[in-house]
Point group: C2
Amino acid sequence: MSDIQLQPLKGFRQLYPEKKVIQSYVLNKAREVARLFGFEEYDGPLLEPIELYLNKSSRELVEEQSFKVNDKNNNTYLMRPEMTPTLARMVAAKYKELILPIRYFNAGLRYRYEAPQKGRDREFYQMDFDIIGSKSEISDIEILAIVATLFKSLGANKDNFVLYLNSRKILAKKLAEIGISSDQNKLVMSQVDRKEKISADEFEKLLIETNITNDQVKGVNRLLNDTKGYREEFKSILDLAKQYEIDDLIEVNPTVVRGLDYYTGIVFEAKSKGKLNRSLMGGGRYDNLVASYGATEAIGGVGFALSDSVALAFMEEFGLLPQLNPVPSQALVTMLDASATNIALKTAFRLRSSGINSEVYPDSSAKLDKQLRYADKKQIPIVVIIGPDEVKNNTITVKYMNERKQETLSVEELIQKLKK
Amino acid sequence: MSDIQLQPLKGFRQLYPEKKVIQSYVLNKAREVARLFGFEEYDGPLLEPIELYLNKSSRELVEEQSFKVNDKNNNTYLMRPEMTPTLARMVAAKYKELILPIRYFNAGLRYRYEAPQKGRDREFYQMDFDIIGSKSEISDIEILAIVATLFKSLGANKDNFVLYLNSRKILAKKLAEIGISSDQNKLVMSQVDRKEKISADEFEKLLIETNITNDQVKGVNRLLNDTKGYREEFKSILDLAKQYEIDDLIEVNPTVVRGLDYYTGIVFEAKSKGKLNRSLMGGGRYDNLVASYGATEAIGGVGFALSDSVALAFMEEFGLLPQLNPVPSQALVTMLDASATNIALKTAFRLRSSGINSEVYPDSSAKLDKQLRYADKKQIPIVVIIGPDEVKNNTITVKYMNERKQETLSVEELIQKLKK
């Protein structure tokens, strides 16, 4: 047997309980926030036909950054790199029966064939929140409020992250005002998307390559630097943000355009104020996506997704990860010798029947010391000891591990104590 | 856009909330039982190298019943068809640091490239329970007790299912007693595995093909029909079963041998007493598996897995599926016109800040009737109505949908009422 099998695939997850319990904590926080905002949980298939993503997600995501599977008829499927196309298809298939607008939540596995790095795995959970069936700005602000509430529920505040807000519609309008045609618009936007990662000179060079005039290049630069004037356009949504007390988290940022091709209105991302120099999550409005899967009406949608990988890396940096013991046991039932086995099992049965999480030490020949060490290492607070005396007297000896004391009583008495 | 994209892949899941909520109910029941028995949750990668399964799982499972993925270096991976090999590898990699015995639980996606049928999907969740690091019969009975507790927690009882118990070790011993060599043993067992699905004549024919003598064929038949004598061998574990009050669920059945190659001791499966003519779940003891991934000691293990697909089909047959509304909202905040928007949002903010699950109707131009119909269809019990009067008086009108009554009060008064 080669050693390589002792390692999981690069960028894939192997979570022992002490890690899994923290991941579950994050996913459950997201689930709680979803419920707080009235979101229902749904699920979709992990394999999807490659056609589902073509002309919707970015070309790079589909062609280079996805794991592919062929069926026996040689059709190609992707291990889903994102969830929104699946959801849009589900809505398109049933929108006449659904009670619109829907508020849907999913926390599920996603796959990206990218180079793993801090906060980015090839296998991760993504928490998706979407409102579909409404084109209203109220839906936009609801989604932004969820982002803020989720980060706050994970312990973060405005010292840790900023919520960059933009609108493709507004940016497009502003570009049109300086004479950039709708054809060139998309090209210019994809250069704007890179601006933060390159120098001013490089950015200018890229703009010139989109075949806009020198005046227009200057216009684009002026537009992107005049955040105050640009921010005016967001007045109504920023007013709504005040009602949710999240206006101090939001910064209008004209360079945020997000990579996915389906966004039509607001786009936004959270950015860490720490060393993790990555977008923490992203989202936006996609008013034409559901129709593109066959709905006969244009059904508005807005949503975002956050990966557990980046959330965990972010929380780690700011010391927000909780200390959690994955061990659920309140009591460990031990036996001094084999003669105690039946009573030990009966005791565990009665504890569990009363809803008390319990385990039985499975080796009756193990010395009591070893059994106690096991409880100690796992931080199980109560050890029930059963030996010949206890069997004879129909009692149990209860050792309280944190208090270094013990007492002899009946099982029912212990249950009463623990249920208080 | 072709219609085919409106359908998920055959045998794959597309769960709208009314189905997802029932699946979550089942998975959460399993999680509760896991905690009750002191099990910790872990997770592993969904893609695994094909070598992980070779010579461990059945050849059919690996070669024909799995979805395969190639990486860019043309290595082949399987979308995990089962979890036990992953767990065994994880334990082998770290058994010197782990606090043994471990009690581990996982509920995750598995993939089988089989023909879908009632209770069998290509994509499903499997709930795995394993105790590793103990060769004791107490671990065996703990695992059987979990199976029973889980089925009971889902509402099933001995009228709905039976727990078939066997032991490969005991069957092998009995076969040796009638002169069947250890070489022939495995062949004979794999025929025994088929016995239930074929006629007595066909079974005899298959036995003869394993090259055992006519006398031995008769011996095998005698052995498999003499359940009373065979049951004697299970006396000690059946005694332990009495302590957990599960002895009435267990039936010793010498023909149950389970398909996976790694089982070494007890094997068992649950069988529906209804029309669903399928094994509901299976498991057994695998004492050599961890060592086969590189542990230098033989580390005992025992466990089982249950799929949500079969559990849901079983529960459906016996009317055990609960009626659950996936909508978490306690309150819907509506607005009579756009002037009420800010106050409506502020109201939703205050409700949510008090932990009251709430949604906002996102379209201020929608007639109140439409907004109330939305609440009614989704069975949201409380509608908060905000119009010009409420804005002026700093009040809210609360409509109780089930009682057909309404009252006007302050937000804080509503919160106090709901938090009681």
